[in-house]
């Protein structure tokens, strides 16, 4: 049958199961949860096996089958969980994942499954399987291979069709069928042997019954997968040789009636209107292609822009009836937008769940001991945002494992527990999600960063100390890396700067706090969605700029007396805090304002610190739809996108993360 239409379903579901396998393998390794980990892994592997066999993905099916065999031994207690067993299982899970992807993409050549299959087999089978050599007995040339059992009654000999799946069970089913016709006095081979598949295709049953030979034959054939049946009177030795029954396909058919049904079920009948399966559906979820949701998001984005224009027109015309309708339509559009945005939200665990495995492998590779915990798994983010943020987080985690932590011995010498703590957390903060990667490792080596910065002429020669802000500024520079050697963990040429640029491209910001000997915390602040943002509109010299509310904390009027200069930098005192100031005019390359008048300060929240942005004036909040933007001047990096405002004019969106 054509299975290609199921490939997508196979992929989605198999990925979920592979992820679950990894999760439970880690639990198993920790020795947590009693029998549950093994059962859960078994179930997932088993499901993958069934699906892949159906799809005809032989390698996946074989791998999952061997994993299942091994797990079954564990479950039965005949195989103990040793580090070696764990190692094989982890390895197998990796190859399984590759094989799943490769099978669907049709590039199985890339997957090398043989080594792990051999290891699985070596552990999975207690004794090398004695290939129960099913001597292919050419039918019609030989005698029945099963001995006639002793006992009273008719002798019923049965030969199963060659390709019978689960022969033992089929034989059992046939014996059950015969039982309904009378009393069974003997079975050969024994029932236990039959069930264990320890027979060729033949078996024989002694049956005491009133039924006629024809009736018995009919019943046996109707049990399915029967190639031949013969009924002999008891003790009728002369008939010990069966008559040749040509094993044609027709002979393998259980019965004439079934054949007719089978045909009716094939395409000749397929154009009969299929009855829609609606009644009784209990599933409360549907799976939707992400592209559909993207399309919906785009449409609602356009609708939001149109609404903005309508509102402006409404304000101009000032017609009560129009305004009332507009208000109602606006509310409906807002509700619709919320629904669509919500439907795109997925919990972060969907991506975070693969990290424990990654950290474990990375730590093991370096002989480090790390306890990795994830907090805030249920925090939700837009699906596309989550997909985008996965790689940067992987990078941060790898960096932490690779450079952040010392080995257990060095940690103990430094007076710390041998086991390092690595925490990945997500929390919701108004219209932003804050993700933190925190380690209790060595901290960033400021001396080395400073030396390197001096070398590259990035700091004054006289500078002796780096602040956290300096650190962020330096580390985020493309190509700035202090790693002495390239390991296979952090890779080559991709530094933290890649994380910064990725996060900023998403409209987010990054901060780093690091203390020598205590640890490093990297904070990412991200908007909830990529496409539609609430923004504060600001005005400078008649131009409008949009500032995403993700980063807005509050706005205040600029008071001359609160301004001072600190270490050569303009700062402002706000209540207890001292905020560094940035001037939007300077950022967009305009001269300072000459006319007097009130200026405003927007207190912006960067990933982990605050700053003030001085603007000429504020023009209210608006929902904006982020459009791709192609900077003409590539040296201005202050913008992350553009948008169209309610009045139809374009505005640039400020990239808060790049401001410093």
């Amino acid at each position: 049958m054509d299975t290609s239409q199921y490939a997508e379903l196979f992929l989605t579901e198999s990925r979920e199961h592979v992820s679950s396998v990894n999760h439970w393998l880690l639990e198993l390794e920790r020795g947590a949860g009693g029998d549950e980990p093994v059962s859960a892994i078994f179930r997932s592997v088993h499901t993958i096996k069934g699906m892949s066999a159906t799809m005809g993905y032989g390698v996946v099916a074989e791998l999952s089958h061997e994993m299942e065999t091994l797990l079954d031994r564990v479950r039965r207690g005949t195989l103990a969980i040793t580090p070696e067993v764990m190692d094989v299982l982890f390895h197998a899970a990796d190859v399984l994942e590759q094989a799943v992807e490769a099978s669907v993409e049709g590039r199985l050549g890339d997957v090398r499954a043989d080594p792990v299959l051999a290891r699985l087999r070596a552990m999975g089978h207690a004794t090398p399987r004695t290939s129960a050599a099913i001597a292919a007995v050419p039918f019609g040339e030989s005698l029945w291979t099963a001995e006639a059992p002793a006992g009273a009654g008719l002798l019923v000999r049965v030969r199963l069709a060659k390709e019978t799946p689960l022969r033992g069970v089929r034989a059992f089913l046939i014996v059950q069928t015969l039982k309904r016709l009378g009393e069974i006095t003997g079975v050969s081979p024994s029932l236990a042997a039959l069930q264990g598949d320890e027979f060729d295709l033949d078996f024989a049953v002694r049956l005491q019954t009133e039924a006629t030979a024809a009736e018995i034959t009919k019943q046996v054939r109707s049990a399915g997968d029967v190639a031949a049946v013969e009924v002999e009177a008891a003790g009728d030795a002369s008939a010990s040789a069966p008559q040749a029954v040509p094993e044609t396909k027709a002979a393998a058919r259980p019965s004439g009636m079934l054949m007719a049904v089978g045909e009716a079920a094939t395409p000749a009948h397929a154009d009969a209107t299929p009855t829609p399966a609606t009644a009784g559906h209990s599933a409360r979820h549907v799976r939707i292609d992400l592209r559909r949701l993207d399309a919906l998001m785009n449409l609602i984005g356009e609708l939001v822009i149109a609404r903005g224009r309508l509102q402006q027109i409404g304000a101009t015309l000032d017609d009560p009836a129009l305004n009332e309708t507009l208000t109602q339509a606006s509310r409906l559009i807002a509700d619709l937008r919320d629904e669509i945005v919500t439907s795109r939200m997925v919990p972060v665990w969907q991506v975070f769940d693969r990290f424990p495995r990654l950290v474990r492998d990375a730590a093991r590779g370096l002989n480090k001991r790390i306890n990795f915990t994830i907090e805030g798994k249920d925090i939700e983010l837009d699906r596309s945002m989550l997909d985008e943020i996965g790689d940067p987080i992987v990078h941060l985690l790898r960096n932490a494992v690779d450079h952040g932590f010392a080995g257990p011995d060095e940690r103990v010498r430094a007076g710390k527990p041998a086991e390092g703590q690595l925490v990945l957390s997500a929390v919701r903060d108004r219209s932003a999600v804050v993700i933190r990667v925190a380690d209790d490792g060595r901290g960033i080596d400021r001396a080395r960063v400073l030396a390197k910065a001096r070398e590259a002429g990035l700091v004054d020669a006289g500078k002796v100390e780096l602040t956290d802000e300096d650190l962020v500024r330096l580390i985020s520079r493309p190509g700035f890396s202090t790693a002495e050697q390239v390991t296979d963990l952090s890779g080559r040429g991709v530094g933290v700067d890649a994380v910064f640029s990725r996060v900023r491209a998403l409209g987010g910001s990054v901060d780093i706090k690091s203390q020598t000997g205590v640890g490093t915390t990297v904070t990412l602040r991200l908007p909830l969605t990529l496409a539609i943002l609430r923004a504060l509109l600001t005005r400078v010299a008649g131009e409008t700029y949009a500032l995403p509310m993700t980063h807005v904390c509050e706005t205040v009027e600029l008071q001359a007396e609160s301004l001072t200069t600190l270490r050569g930098r303009e700062v402002m005192t706000l209540r207890e805090d001292v905020l560094p100031l940035m001037r939007l005019r300077r950022i967009v390359g305009l001269p300072p304002r000459e006319a007097s008048g009130r200026e405003h300060v927007i207190v912006v929240e960067l990933a982990d610190r605050r700053a003030g942005l001085v603007v000429d004036g504020l023009a209210g909040q608006e929902e904006i739809v982020v459009k791709q933007y192609d900077p003409v001047r590539s040296d201005v990096q202050a913008f992350s996108g553009a948008t169209i405002l309610g009045d139809g004019s374009p505005a640039l969106i400020l990239d808060v993360g790049s401001l410093s």
Partner: protein
């Protein structure tokens, strides 16, 4: 009127495929279940002509579900869907009252043959 089927499997993939095979043969899939518990509930509610039952499912496996369903309706017609290597479990399911079995990977013709055997 077409005959009704309840399809039980924890994988959407499998439910979809079995459902498609049966629908193309004129059956009406009236319900789906992804656990043994759901299978029993759905059976009681829908009283389908046929049940296809996966063996390995979370929340009560297929075999226990067969026991529960047969206890409720001794005439229930249940077809087990098994994988290679589950001999013992299939035997157990048949002892519990399942009528026949098919083995993954499914071939539509084999599934439909088995269905006809079950429905007699």
């Amino acid at each position: 009127m077409s005959q009704t089927v309840l399809v039980c499997d924890d994988a959407i993939f499998m439910r979809t495929m079995v459902g498609d095979i049966l629908q193309s043969a004129g059956f009406e899939v009236v319900g789906q279940a992804e656990s043994g518990v759901q299978a029993v509930e759905q059976y009681k509610k829908l009283r389908p002509d046929l049940v296809t039952m996966d063996i390995v499912m979370p929340d009560m496996g297929g075999i226990d579900a067969v026991r529960e369903i047969v206890k409720f309706d001794p005439q229930a017609k249940i077809l087990m869907c098994s994988a290679m290597g589950q001999q013992a479990l299939v035997v157990e399911a048949i002892q519990a009252g399942a009528k026949d079995f098919v083995v993954k990977p499914f071939q539509p013709s084999r599934v439909l043959e088995a269905v006809q055997r079950v429905l007699g």
